[in-house]
Symmetry: C2
Subunit: 244 residues, 2 copies
Amino acid sequence: MAQVQVAVHPAEVNPAKLPGKRVVMFDVLRASSTIVTALAAGARGIVPVVEVDEARAQAKAYGPGTLLGGERGAKRIPGFDLGNSPLEYVGQVVRDRIIVMTTTNGTKALARGAGAREILVGCLLNAPSLADYLAASPGGDILLICAGVRGRIALEDILGAGCVVSLLERRGMEIEGDGAFLAAQVYFMYRDDLAAAMGTFEHGRRLLELGFGEDIAYCAQKGPLAVLPRLEGGIIRVGDGHVW
Amino acid sequence: MAQVQVAVHPAEVNPAKLPGKRVVMFDVLRASSTIVTALAAGARGIVPVVEVDEARAQAKAYGPGTLLGGERGAKRIPGFDLGNSPLEYVGQVVRDRIIVMTTTNGTKALARGAGAREILVGCLLNAPSLADYLAASPGGDILLICAGVRGRIALEDILGAGCVVSLLERRGMEIEGDGAFLAAQVYFMYRDDLAAAMGTFEHGRRLLELGFGEDIAYCAQKGPLAVLPRLEGGIIRVGDGHVW
């Protein structure tokens, strides 16, 4: 049976051990939640890039109709079509569109997964679908990577990963290491009121100060979106089946 | 009032923010506990080095009577006088001696503190003394660094840091960030039986397999040693007063 590990900080990821692994990136507030929401709303794909200049260049390369999304300091980047609030990514804006996206933490954390057998995007919104998929897929250890915020851990990412760990544990998968154990504990500690908990964490408090309280309430929902975002060939699309 | 932060992984430490900070390194199983024990038993000082060859060279430089201590893969290094079990570091062996020491995680984590105003070594054994000292010292934010194991987090280090966080919080110090909040939660979760908890964590289980169960029981004791190990000029000695 496949093992489930959690990197509570991206620096825990050992690139040499990625081949063969299935990786899920968690940036619950807000990149992962925004990506899941955009794909659920019919976006054709999300192109994650690390730098702002690179985002502009990629949007040009993808051609007219491509949207630019993302944040720096939690705020929309000047000249971009969209920020990093999932509530902006509604069907009438994003349907059938390619979105080139750069965020402070999430897009960097995705790059950490390079070399893995499969790279998925996870958050609370799609946690049950993700667990269904991972439990049903054959083989390959699972590594859930918590993106964190500006080089430090973020409890909401550990919470999101812990939700998936707890769902996989119930299906008999083996939880390996202190990170996965800790993430499951954090989830159990806060599961009765995820939104309230997220509002007390460091990054949640900052988003509340900036007026993004609705984002927190939205991102704290467990399971409403049955979307499996998969990064392949530089673009994140809806994965509708197993990759092998 | 000074703030208290915790880096649950050494990669969270931002070297640019170290000047002015008071840093404490936690490698509870076992480097920190061994250093505290050796100093309590009368060792003159511990010279922490990262590489085995460097340890041999330093021991030669310090001259006859210098002891070599440390581990690789939790086991004593060939030709070394001592391993990394605190129970080996008794008075009749270490009194008045300089010990050059290299361990897989602890000595590397100490190097992460370079540039801080003060670098101390912490574990459960000296947690209350450490909290007394930090609460009584004037100014300077406090950063507790969890060493982890081979690049991954270790719950026993988070537990040790959390013990000090909880003691400082009671004295009215401000807990800053998700790391410190999480560490305090982990400590509260396990404080009623620290030894049993440590035996269930990843690194504790490995030490049990290797026959180091007594080390775990010893390192899980909260507060028996009133020792304040301070790294200064490349050597860790007993700090008997404030440094500024």
